[in-house]
Subunit: 358 residues, 4 copies
Amino acid sequence: LGSIFGSQFRFLTWGEAHGPAVGVVIEGCPAGLAFDEAFLKSELARDVPDTDIGTTRREPNKAEILSGVFEGITLGTPICIVIRNEDICSRRYEIIRTCPRPGHADYTYRARYSHVDWRGGSRASGRECICRVVAGAVAKMLLRPCGITVCSRITSLAGLPVATCADYEAAKKRVLEIGGTGDSSGGVIEVTAAGVPAGVGSPIFDKLDARLGLAMMSIGGVAAFEMGSGTAFAAMTGAEANDPFTMDGGAVRTTTNNCGGVQGGISNGMEIRFTITVKPTPSIAVPQQSVNLHTKEPVVLETQGRFDHNFTPRVLAVVEAMTAATLVDLLIEGGFIHPVRFEESRLPTARLSRNPIS
Amino acid sequence: LGSIFGSQFRFLTWGEAHGPAVGVVIEGCPAGLAFDEAFLKSELARDVPDTDIGTTRREPNKAEILSGVFEGITLGTPICIVIRNEDICSRRYEIIRTCPRPGHADYTYRARYSHVDWRGGSRASGRECICRVVAGAVAKMLLRPCGITVCSRITSLAGLPVATCADYEAAKKRVLEIGGTGDSSGGVIEVTAAGVPAGVGSPIFDKLDARLGLAMMSIGGVAAFEMGSGTAFAAMTGAEANDPFTMDGGAVRTTTNNCGGVQGGISNGMEIRFTITVKPTPSIAVPQQSVNLHTKEPVVLETQGRFDHNFTPRVLAVVEAMTAATLVDLLIEGGFIHPVRFEESRLPTARLSRNPIS
Amino acid sequence: LGSIFGSQFRFLTWGEAHGPAVGVVIEGCPAGLAFDEAFLKSELARDVPDTDIGTTRREPNKAEILSGVFEGITLGTPICIVIRNEDICSRRYEIIRTCPRPGHADYTYRARYSHVDWRGGSRASGRECICRVVAGAVAKMLLRPCGITVCSRITSLAGLPVATCADYEAAKKRVLEIGGTGDSSGGVIEVTAAGVPAGVGSPIFDKLDARLGLAMMSIGGVAAFEMGSGTAFAAMTGAEANDPFTMDGGAVRTTTNNCGGVQGGISNGMEIRFTITVKPTPSIAVPQQSVNLHTKEPVVLETQGRFDHNFTPRVLAVVEAMTAATLVDLLIEGGFIHPVRFEESRLPTARLSRNPIS
Amino acid sequence: LGSIFGSQFRFLTWGEAHGPAVGVVIEGCPAGLAFDEAFLKSELARDVPDTDIGTTRREPNKAEILSGVFEGITLGTPICIVIRNEDICSRRYEIIRTCPRPGHADYTYRARYSHVDWRGGSRASGRECICRVVAGAVAKMLLRPCGITVCSRITSLAGLPVATCADYEAAKKRVLEIGGTGDSSGGVIEVTAAGVPAGVGSPIFDKLDARLGLAMMSIGGVAAFEMGSGTAFAAMTGAEANDPFTMDGGAVRTTTNNCGGVQGGISNGMEIRFTITVKPTPSIAVPQQSVNLHTKEPVVLETQGRFDHNFTPRVLAVVEAMTAATLVDLLIEGGFIHPVRFEESRLPTARLSRNPIS
């Protein structure tokens, strides 16, 4: 199990990185949504936002829609979208058959399944993420008419803070320096969602922040999730941490937003805000210690080929996709979006007017 | 929805803080487990580990087992355990009927449900956590014969690092100082699980670390989840971050454990390790800005009564409970524990011998 | 697993027949519903509709509401209702410890769980059904403002057809005759639901008729489920079986209703209609062949005590409860009932006006 | 929702009858199973077992395996299998855009989704069933090493009983006679599963017979489900209906099998046996009354083309597939098959030796 995400709006990803294809089936997308193929293409194209520090695998990522859409409109039935794997070179992975790469899932997949597809990281590859981006694109198509937008930005790269364009150039330089030595680096991403009405999220175990935590931690290479002020809460007092309430144009708002827009697992109508930490790329050209699982002898792995120096930029599209999918799931769960027929006329389009108190 | 946790070993908590009772129903506990009532009692007693900084609510927390256990042995049927609410004083919560407390879920529950039980935080109260501790106690009963132990410790309190007993005394002094002003403070907890075999966790969306992230973020007042080295990964290089493999007594191990024992969402046989950040107690005696939801006028809330100065110590039992429940769920999912009959003779009792490669 | 029914409106039953209590937790009942305690009591009182052929166990069936209702209105949180077991005499079940009763689940529970509560049928007892009746009562409270009613009636008893009151008296006489010999008899029940709008039911695997089939077959002693004309379809031709469409007062209707109101798993706005077959009571005073599981010797069981001569009448309340719960589940799933807040003003109150075409 | 079947072994079908393709994704098939492609082909070829009374749509039904299998062995990851739709002629369905066919789901899909793919029955077509056959073939691959076989046979056709080959010829003649008038007929199928160990099935709501009922009633055109002696129980007495226990070669058995091998929802080690009723083909050449949904005028539909005179024979493969999938799901749920790695050496291979008592 494990390949299905979500409850009301749910999707199942399938496919090995070096198998014939990868794909996703989305279930629970209401009927009547205009399917924006151009937008789907643009989201798929985001897969490599910065070629300097990105991947060398250059696949067309051409998505074929096999079901669930008729005459450009969703049917409410499962949407299956397939992406063929075309730029495959499995030879360089031969060594993994016996020697697991540090920082990768080679060893743990073998521990779990015994029989594995050792080529290209299989399901644990970044390749699987393209399926999430597809599902996220559909989720964003649903969020747009609701007036909800999901944004992400890098706030730290290779250990350097990124607040301005100049910061980003400096950080990119550092990424390339480290990459030049065959090593890699990580980063930090902040995600925000604007326009989310108050009342989204189900108490106790399906809290909005808990579900976002699950969504983010399920992305390969994500090591930490911080809601709102996150780890900084540890050194704050209650008076500093609590977000005071105020009235603003007839609506209840908070004057600060330390909680990241979620209280008791339910959105309060403010901006949803959280942060994730991205590990350095595990594939590096630096020699690394491993073991040969057959001979039980130690080995030194020297991985050839070019890899992402830092995959933080590539993760942006995935992070947004998982955020959008989580929001749509809970918007349907909470009755904000009709589960079967997408009716724009019944959607909440302005956050203030949706405010349950004003 | 939202009140059910887990898939194979799942539990449902119910009950309002100031209603007649709270309780939990555990489904998926295999038959044949000796139910250790004394242990359950000792876990319930952990609810207030340090009276200096803890709560004043002193309930007996007497658990009544209504089903699922016969002659001291589990039946494999749902285990329902009820805890009556006895020390209830709802008057001081009257103000919440109209004025939501900053840092609490008063406003968001109202936004979601319209009709709410305004007394004592209802489901969003720490009272709900006692149900999790009960479920976690049963989970620990299952983990014990598997040779798996879950531990937690405070690593930071009120902004001060806690590594030694002296540190703890210093931090506690700071907690009391802050508490003396009517304000509150937070902390950091590290959790470890020893003895978890390699191969636990389901790839993609049910990754062990993702499920732990969900479990932790579902606890009220938890603001951040860090797996292994967590946020520190952002400034590490791949060579620093990757955990090299080595052979140790015929078993595969890693020489470092930055990943916290999980790679690609599956345990690697090393210690599971993660960290959570606990917010400062939202209930404070400091005057706070709020609004009257009926008159829409601003109000200043001055909460009376005594509260936890810092509820980090109280969270320990809950954090362990949710960790244990998550592990049992995935141990059953992965075939390590039989789903119907608990058979000690078929359990993996030593981590090394379970190593799938050696 | 197995003790949770439903998805959007779901309930979990727990409790052994001779344990301290049985109970149910309902999750997914929207907030804002006026909880009709008197109606709940009246449904519980239906447990023995005809004392002549019913059970001798006379428990008060007093339900205690422990959560989810505040000031007489549902909160949207889990509703836990407990019923204590009071009229317990376990001695007569001693024989079951070693010798399974034919027609009962004694042997199969032992096969599955090894450790069992042998007293009174445990979870396989009719006692568990009282929990279903409680959940069904809440479901009916939700259906009533929607203008949906669920009815059931006996159409055959002890092999005799029941269409009139005279039929029923004749059949009852036959039931008593058979019962007088220590033997038992079964029956047939027809269930109808009026007022269900067109469009309820999810295609493929969550078809309305499939979910009703699951619901009915999950009731102990139910041996067959027939949708609409059921087994009679086998000898019909397509022209006889198909229900022609017509317009009636601006609404689409069918001139016959062989399909029982469901086409392709989705309701068509006509009356929902299906039939179930109830087995004869397995507990009989006639000597029966069994085996002693310890000695592996054959034994003849001569069960003492009084039992229902025919439990078809007792099943009526359970059948309606499961039907109501299934309908509410799919009404929420289909967006007919708001999942979080019960808003009467937004409910479809007249079937014709809801017709999607007219 | 609605397109996912099962819990531990679950599959999702997708695709419209006249869209680009249909397909299935199977999740929860353990790793290590030798994937028998030849068997899959033979199961797909069963789609039209008797050309005399079968369909005229002659598609190759060529299945492409896109994931989850590597070097002929399952990986434990999702298995996606795609079948292209090639023999499509949608013109004859144009009339359905406005006039729903009696006995079909045209009207109800429109009631639910508003926007529909009107061509060829879309998801409600028999075409969807080919995906179930694929999933069932994989389930059968898992059952075979467990010594479990699923069989089905027609026991009635066009209202005539079928016990012998001569019966079948007579019934077929009747089918063709009815078909010759443009009308259609139905039938009855008996299904048996041999080799199922005692202890399979989860009490209360996931009873083996309840899950089989769900599985069968989810098949388009199935109108009734009877477990064991089914509707005949209504006229039996308890002494006739109860199956007495006996010892047979050290194993517990019953001397009759009225219950169809399931007691209290759990298998008792005897043959699983149930019966389903298949409706007459709804597509007939006889003129039928319908309405034009736009003009609201009555219309008479005269469907052209050739259709199955009786699709009972075609349903056999689907019925077996759903039975096999249900059994595998519950075998994993009950711990009889390892959920992650398929280990033949640990499988129960002889029913008697698995007997939990002997």
